[in-house]
């Protein structure tokens, strides 16, 4: 168990081309020893959760700067629950107001990050909160 790398799916749902943050974070996670599957642009909640099931990912990270965070996080979380991925971490980042961050946490979404947050902090958060269930 301890040998397995933390596996992270990173995706951009919907019609949002702002991929700078997603790519920078993906690279930082790889440098930190994690395995990253970057799905790229124009993903749907369905395609993201399907990939997470296929990859048996520990973490799903969504990057959303389009304002569609409530819709997308809610849908991805629902699909995770119905696909047996309820114990995995759903996190992400983008332009997400504090008020919405609180609502997301109530839905079972983890911490979401924003402009200016430190890469190292993101790495450590994922390392500490990724699913680590034996077997």
């Amino acid at each position: 168990m301890a040998d397995r790398k933390i596996k992270v799916i990173i995706a951009k749902p919907g019609l949002d081309g702002h991929d700078r943050g997603a790519k920078v974070v993906a690279r930082a996670l790889v440098e930190a020893g994690m395995e990253v599957v970057y799905l790229g642009l124009q993903q749907t909640p369905e395609s993201i959760v399907r990939a997470a099931v296929e990859e048996d990912a520990d973490v799903i990270g969504l990057s959303i700067l389009s304002g569609a965070h409530m819709t997308n996080f809610r849908r991805v979380r629902e699909l995770m629950l119905s696909s047996g991925l309820g114990d995995r971490l759903l996190t992400g980042g983008g332009i997400i107001p504090t008020k919405d961050q609180e609502k997301l946490q109530e839905m079972g979404v983890g911490k979401v990050f924003g402009p200016g947050d430190d890469l190292q902090e993101i790495v450590e958060y994922i390392r500490a909160n990724a699913r680590r269930v034996p077997g």
């Binding site: 990173i10 919907g14 019609l15 949002d16 081309g17 702002h18 991929d19 700078r20 997603a22 790519k23 920078v24 993906a26 690279r27 930082a28 990253v36 970057y38 799905l39 790229g40 642009l41 124009q42 749907t44 700067l65 389009s66 304002g67 569609a68 965070h69 409530m70 819709t71 997308n72 332009i95 107001p97 504090t98 924003g114 402009p115 200016g116 430190d118 890469l119 190292q120």
Partner: protein, 547 residues
């Protein structure tokens, strides 16, 4: 006891000791502690700088610059439904703004209707939703389109959004020759940085040349393209990459238009540019000055344009959205003021100043007003508009201008080796260069080699946000979808089908697509219907994801 030589000064400089700090530019450019006339040896001011309004335009595109006419203060705005945005435009015009600039929402930018599956949750969120001519009518209701110039930030579906704009003017009895404004219409930087395309590059490039040909004849005051470095920089590039990739895109458009048989003097004077103004004050000013010189030389010497108007690199500037912080948002006002001043000292023709709250949400009315007032302070209080190119002749600025030009030239050679801009895009060259630069900058912040005040230095831990944010209500999406369905129910659907069929025929036959697009717009065909019709002929495009 003065220093007699540079060496003597340098000895004293070394002896005095320097702070333990990173003295590179924000792009990572190593900098000397001092620049002198020696750094400009061999650089003849007569040929390198010239006079304002004269080749090579390093000092500005007009002989009188801001003494003749101030830059256009143009705040990019759009949110929610067309009615909500129309209200914001009236507010901005009333506060002294001198041009309009439309921000569309993501579904519109991708040529999708508000009821498309991928649009869920995005309608009206980062700009205004426009699905049909009916939305265009509401967007500009009561705004004198023959007197206010209008810029539209739209790329992949630019030709059919413009067709809706023209159809609206036509309905209001405003002649096309009276319309002034700019379409961004720059698809190359979409593949490079912003990632909003519909088709593969070649059909998009054809639509751009169609639009240039149409406007040269029918809409002569329209800037058909705004070749944009802004998004390249926002995606994380360095200043030199922004400069080089943007101008390389410009050369690519020129070559496509020439290959399509257009006369350079017909389209080149209507090409315009759009640069970012980031935090590194002097590097930004130098970048803008270098852009004018490089463009003028290429247009005159390489593309053989004879009319000096074809040589001008006229540009819009926007302050750097990516420099704004969510932490202590009020201090973004100061960042924006410095960046805006750099845009003015760089000789921009129009300017957008970001609002302090844009790392958090779309700007509130109060935040937008402060941003506009920032420009007005620069124009009317600071004295920056009194003298043309006030930093011209500064050893540092001139050396940076020369260095940026050389770096851009190196990139042009590299792009040529890769087979040109489109080939370089397909090989992921630009994307990789930018991703690397973005990562290096983030790491420099993380390692505290670079600083962002209020974020990795001078942070106020646990501070609560104290400014009000604009919220786009969930009802916006429902209202917009309802309006779309109403339009579809009320229009002549037989006429829509006919116009879409004619569009497909013209697309397959290689005819200019502007006349059939205009006909589709008049019939209230939707943005998405037109995108689908053209996709049936041109195909779609996917990028290989990488990081």
């Amino acid at each position: 006891m003065g220093n007699r030589t540079k060496t003597a000064w340098a000895e004293k400089y070394e002896a005095g000791g320097v702070r333990d700090a990173d003295f590179t530019s924000i792009s990572g450019r190593p900098l000397e502690p001092l620049y002198t006339w020696e750094d400009l040896a061999g650089s003849d001011p007569e040929t390198r700088l010239g006079w304002p309004g004269d080749y090579p335009y390093t000092r500005g595109v007009h002989p009188s610059m801001y003494r003749g006419k101030l830059w256009t203060m143009r705040q990019f705005a759009g949110m929610g439904t067309p009615d909500q945005t129309n209200e914001r435009y009236r507010f901005l015009l009333e506060k002294g703004q001198t041009g309009l600039s439309v921000a569309f929402d993501n579904p519109t930018l991708y040529g999708r209707d508000s009821d498309h599956a991928l649009a869920a949750g995005e309608v009206g969120k980062t700009g205004v939703a426009v699905d049909t001519l009916a939305d265009m009518e509401r967007l500009f209701a009561g705004i004198p389109l023959d007197r206010v110039s209008t810029s539209m930030t739209i790329n992949a579906p630019a030709a059919w959004i413009f067709a809706m704009f023209l159809a609206n003017a036509e309905k209001r009895g405003i002649g096309f020759d009276k319309l002034r404004g700019t379409l961004q219409n720059d698809i190359l930087k979409e593949y490079i940085a912003q990632k909003e395309w519909i088709f593969p590059p070649e059909p998009h490039l054809r639509l751009i040349t169609d639009l240039m040909a149409f406007c040269a004849e029918k809409v002569p005051q329209w800037n058909t393209i705004s070749i944009s470095g802004y998004h390249i920089r926002e995606a994380g590039s360095t200043a030199a990459q922004e400069l080089a990739f943007t101008l390389a895109d410009g050369f690519c458009y020129v070559e496509h238009a020439l290959a399509a048989g257009l006369d350079i003097e017909d389209f080149a004077p209507r090409l315009s540019f759009f640069f970012n103004s980031h935090l590194d004050f002097f590097e930004e000013i130098a970048k803008m000055r270098a852009a004018r010189r490089i463009w003028a030389r290429a247009m005159r010497d390489k593309y053989k344009a004879k009319n000096p108007r074809s040589w001008l690199c006229r540009f819009h500037v926007q302050t750097a959205g990516c420099s704004l912080t969510a932490q202590q948002p009020e201090i973004n006002i100061v960042r924006t003021a410095l960046e805006a001043l750099a845009g003015v000292l760089g000789g921009c023709q129009s300017l957008h100043t970001n609002s302090m709250d844009e790392a958090l949400a779309l700007p509130s009315e109060k935040a937008v007003e402060i941003a506009l007032r920032t420009q007005q302070i620069i124009a009317f209080e600071s004295g920056a508009a009194n003298v043309i190119d006030p930093l011209g002749g500064s050893y540092y600025i001139e050396k940076l201008t020369n260095d940026l030009e050389e770096e851009a030239e190196r990139y042009f050679r590299k792009i040529d080796e890769l087979g040109g801009v489109v080939k370089a895009i397909e090989q992921g060259f630009f994307q990789r260069e930018i991703t690397r630069a973005a990562y290096e900058y983030e790491m420099a912040l993380s390692r505290r080699k670079k600083f962002h005040v209020g974020v990795n230095e001078f942070a106020n831990l646990g501070q609560k946000l104290e400014i009000p944010l604009l919220e786009i209500d969930e009802s916006t999406e429902r209202d917009q979808v309802a309006a779309l369905l109403r339009t579809k129910a009320e229009r002549d659907n037989g006429a829509v089908r006919e116009s879409l069929a004619a569009l497909k025929t013209a697309a397959a036959a290689g005819r200019n697509l502007m006349p059939p697009l205009l006909e589709c717009a008049r019939r209230y065909a939707t943005l998405g219907e037109i995108s689908d019709a053209l996709t049936a002929v041109f195909g779609s495009y996917r990028e290989q994801p990488f990081f």
